[in-house]
Amino acid sequence: MAQVNLRKVFKEYDDVPAVRGIDLDIADKEFVVLVGPSGCGKTTTLRMIAGLEDITDGEILIGGDVVNDVPPKDRDIAMVFQNYALYPHMTVHENMSFGLRLKKLPKDEIQRRVNAVAGILGIGELLERKPRQLSGGQRQRVAMGRAIVRNPKVFLFDEPLSNLDAKLRVHMRTEIKKVHQKVRTTTVYVTHDQVEAMTLADRVVVMNGGLIEQVGTPHELYHSPATLFVAGFIGSPAMNVMRCRLEETADALRLRMNGDIALPIPAERVARYRPYLGRQNLLFGLRPEHLTDMRGPLQPGQSSLETTLDVTEPLGMETLVFFSLDGAEICARTNPAANLQAGRRAQLLADLRYMHLIDADSGRVL
């Protein structure tokens, strides 16, 4: 059983905290992605799991055993680095078999494993080449091969796709996912790219400033973000966030944005939001895909909004339109057929059934 557990893990560099107390439980065979902006502590966490960094406080367990004082070579883990870290003086075959040769495995066993893994990754023909003769994508596959061949308890990936060009990145993402389906090993994957996180992970861990903001499936993170940071980080184009107040009308609640825009809150949410009536510093969040052109009669929970458009970006499949509201630039995803023009007034449909109400002070989604 190769589960990974982090308990109250702290990491300080000379009194500067990099990881400020995280708890995480990763199940056996699970693919978990640590995602967040630069400096959030995700790479530090990965390196602590690997044993490349000391743990200032807390415990890390692999397969049920505490590994705080265990050196990397005894943790039975494998790592794929951002810069591949292939041994330049060894052939691909020797690179992949290095760990096995250190463990003094019998030659035919080594041969069998290397050939099997080379087959999975499609690098069988490259076995006698040296790293400098390989392309970026090939090198990345060799790095993965080196990790897989050791049959470890846990795979660790440190931003492996950052050095590849966009097209190759998309291709390798699929490769990694296929490999995980074939070789079901617990995986911890670090990236700053939320698209990679969403496409690869069983569960995503969003980190910020050394702490975990939220852990959940991609679906949960997208549709039910717990904090303002997660709401803004996941999804592209990013969620629209605007300042607002709650108003009471007859038997319902309304969202008041500055000026004359007031949107009725869907009935099912009224009870949930009523306690925050007097609250200052509320934020209204709505994803661009829930702000569209008028495409039929209003459903309950939907409202219309009229505004002047600043910019339109025709993408073919959809047209992004941008307008200002209370100083913020709001994005809506519209049907190209609606033919909305910049500089003109337009009627937009806001589907508040998908809205989020956020407390600006604490950052929590209410």
Binding site: A50, G51, P71, K73, F81, N83, H89, F98
Partner: protein
């Protein structure tokens, strides 16, 4: 019009460059070539002063005399033993120190690295006299034969070679990406295995360059042998040639030049075959430092 004048300018620059290069090559290569020419002359031809720059009746008698001379062969053997021993000692000390200083950090490692650089401010010409006294003292105190023995050179020559070799190796080791060590550690290597199976192969050009440097410096040193060895059977080549072949007023120039040429041969051969490593070692000290 402009393109033509640029091309003409370039051609002129090229011609002048070659002219000057030939001049300097002549200047730089004249002494060794003259050594060769003289070495092939008989004493008679030398004293006849017909034409110093050319040999009319070449002979190998000087070579024969030296290569059968007990003393000269002793010099050669001593030089070889001392140099090879010093190379071995130097490389072991330097590689371990460089690995430690460039990769593993301990209290004072940064100051030590600068300190290594600073030892070059203390030349051998400052140290030979106190060392002489120290060796005499050690001999009196412990009875170990230190005065006038060639193996003392094996003790002191590393002070000339280790600092620079360490510096070269630090430069090469530092340029190896840190992820390579980490990958090896995760693959299951101990620190020693990281050094021998990853660092040394990858830094091989640096190892070769440092080895060449250590050998050449040991082979060529003149002051320490002059100070610490006085009898012929203990001397190495540079000191031996200078002290024995120049006896009184009678100089056997043919033999002296032959001796010098043969003595210069090992470094020259190494240079001829491993020139790129030789030069890499030199420039590594400055550019990678």
């Amino acid at each position: 019009m402009k393109a033509a004048s640029l091309k003409r300018e370039r051609r002129w620059a090229l011609v002048w460059s070659y002219i000057f290069l030939v001049i300097f090559a002549v200047i730089f290569l004249t002494p060794p070539l003259y050594m060769l020419v003289t070495s092939l002359k008989t004493s008679a031809e030398i004293s006849a002063v017909t034409l110093p720059w050319w040999v009319f009746h070449p002979t190998l008698e000087n070579y024969y005399a030296l290569l059968t001379s007990e003393a000269y062969l002793t010099f050669f053997r001593n030089s070889l033993v001392v140099s090879l021993a010093v190379v071995a000692i130097t490389m072991v000390i330097s590689i371990f120190a460089a690995f430690s200083l460039s990769r593993m950090h301990f209290w004072g490692s940064a100051t030590l690295a600068t300190g290594v650089f600073l030892t070059y401010l203390i030349p051998e010409t400052l140290l030979f006299i106190p060392l002489f006294k120290i060796f005499a003292f050690v001999q009196d105190w412990t009875g170990i034969e230190m005065m006038n023995h060639w193996w003392v050179l094996i003790l002191v020559f590393p002070t000339l070679t280790v600092p620079f070799c360490t510096w070269i190796m630090i430069g090469y080791f530092a340029s190896i990406p840190k992820e390579l060590d980490e990958a090896a550690l995760i693959d299951g290597a101990s620190y020693f295995q990281v050094l021998t199976r990853v660092f040394l192969p990858v830094a091989l050009p640096g190892v070769i360059a440092a080895t060449i440097f250590a050998f050449t410096v040991s082979w060529a040193d003149f002051l320490y042998p002059m100070a610490f060895t006085t009898s012929v059977d203990q001397m190495v080549l540079p000191a031996g040639i200078v002290t024995t072949l120049i006896k009184g007023d009678v100089f056997n120039w043919g033999q002296i030049m032959t001796a010098a040429l043969l003595g210069a041969l090992p470094p020259l051969l190494i240079y001829a075959f491993l020139m790129d490593y030789y030069i890499a070692g030199l420039t590594a000290g400055a550019t990678k430092g």
